[in-house]
Amino acid sequence: MPQLTTNQFYLHVANLALLNAVFAMSLGLISSVGQLSLGHAAFAALGAYLSALGALQLKIPPIFGILLAGIAAGGLAAVLGRIILRLRGVYFVLVTFLVGQMCALVALNWESVTRGANGLVGIPPISILGYTLSSRAQFYYFALSVFLAVLVFIWALMRSQYGRAFRSIAENIQLAESSGIDTSRYQVIAFALGSGIAGSAGAATAHYIRYISPDTFTFHDSVAYITMLVVGGRQTLVGGVLGAAFLTPLPEVLRGFAGVQHIIYGAILLAVLMFLPGGLASIGALVTRRRVRLETSK
């Protein structure tokens, strides 16, 4: 991207798309055990605040702050998951929604630490070995490497025995438990890893935009990640990536249609859900299936 364009705005959208892809993929990890979190942005916010406060007040280098934020968010999710992952379906969704709202209220009202609605300003950028990533182009390479690392990590995880356990739980939790798969343990693992990645990505976002407030990661962002995942394709790893790549720039592309852009946005989502229930990632499979059908009918 930085070779293709020097336009700062395009670079910014590319950076956001990479970060959104990480959020959507990590949410996909949680959804791979059949659970839907409506509090994903809350873990991003937690990571963002922790790393930002660590950098501002304790002078923790942002790169360590990002790692620590992931560990903290994952740890909190593990503790919380032990309690709330007993719930399934809509009950779990509702509880994660409430957890998200509680986090937002804490960020808003704990003014002595979070500065309330004013947010934290002047968050330092990431620096690696004395090299500071202050420009958008520099951050792009960092975001790209984080994105690739997360992609490879989740791919390897889903291919392993963990992935086998996760898919078993999503498909038939009762049979999974009776096949000797400790379903509560693997659900906690998936929830903690997914939320931990979101915490780190949230922290990276804070050091990129250099500012964070209770409005940076809200309920609407949680919904946006779910939308990306569903539009891209919930069942595959590239689904979240495609969804983020498609939906992040879409509002900007539609900017020319002032007034009706939200209607067009909604119509595109509806069209994808109606005609591509497997998401954008299923286009390839649909095309090959049609080709096979054509060949067999010859």
Binding site: A156, L157, R159, S160, Q161, Y162, R164, A165, R167, S168, E171, N172, Q174, L175, A176, E177, S178, S179, G180, I181, D182, T183, S184
Partner: protein, 257 residues
């Protein structure tokens, strides 16, 4: 001969309802034991309590001499006690082979971290597990469907696959919950032969809940009868057939064939 499974004074209450009341029975190694009773007698509750899905309100359950009350179902499976379900028998979207591989989860000796990094010991363990599963599919006549999604299988084969998933966990005691429910007469007979066969070749002890009288009478060494949550009889099939209490409670006007 010490018993493999000992159910001792087990009760289970749901609110005011006594689904199981002081039920005591045991299963010796190598036996096929039938658990029968009219609808609502507590057979399925008994299965759920023994397999750890539901905790008992009181009583103890020993498997190989160890108390398994309070263990998670997955931990009970690791001990060697595996059950099947009446309705949810397979993972519908996964291939038939993948279904059995999931059943073999606890018997695939590899470190989970190793499987993430795909180390060569992990690959070998998975390969060994896959071969074992293919062999199992072969013996159960499921090989032709190996790559097909399990949900697309004819119902009779789905029930069969349910047994294959349980066998993949290498049980010492296999608990079958109505293995022939919903099967036609030919399929039922085939399932009966299959149970007999795996009992012999794998040396698996079997405890089954079943409504199908002919199957139970023909297959089982011993029968335990429940009614209203209590054990009302226990004995050889011939004894059960002649037991007045059983005939009154369960068979009533129905003819036993």
């Amino acid at each position: 001969m010490s018993a493999l499974l000992e159910v001792d004074q087990v009760s289970r209450r749901f609110g005011g309802l006594n689904a199981l009341r002081n039920v005591t029975f045991s299963v010796a190694p190598g036996e096929i034991v039938g658990l029968i009773g009219p609808n609502g007698a507590g057979k399925t509750t008994c299965f759920n309590v023994v397999s750890g899905v539901l905790p008992p309100s009181s009583g103890t359950i020993r498997f190989k001499g160890r108390n398994i009350v309070g263990m998670k179902p997955s931990a009970v499976v690791a001990e060697g006690l595996v059950r099947t379900f009446q309705a949810t028998t397979v993972f519908p979207a996964a291939s038939v082979l993948e279904n059995v591989m999931r059943g073999a989860f606890t018997r695939t000796p590899l470190s989970l971290i190793g499987s993430v990094f795909n180390t060569s010991p992990a690959r070998e363990a998975l390969q060994a597990s896959r071969e074992r599963c293919c062999h199992l599919l072969d013996r159960l006549g499921l090989t032709p469907f190996r790559q097909q999604p399990a949900g697309e299988l004819p119902y009779g084969y789905q029930r069969r696959l349910g047994v294959a998933i349980a066998l993949a966990a290498q049980p010492q005691l296999l608990m079958l919950d109505e293995p022939v429910a919903g099967l036609n007469p030919e399929e039922s007979a085939a399932m009966g032969r299959l149970i007999e066969e795996i009992h012999e070749t794998e040396g698996v002890t079997v405890l089954l809940v079943e409504h199908h009288m002919r199957l139970v009478m023909g297959l089982c060494d011993r029968i335990v009868v429940l009614d209203h949550g209590e054990k009302i009889a226990e004995g050889l099939p011939a004894e059960i057939r002649a037991d007045r209490k059983v005939i009154e409670a369960y068979l009533g006007t129905e003819e036993v064939t």
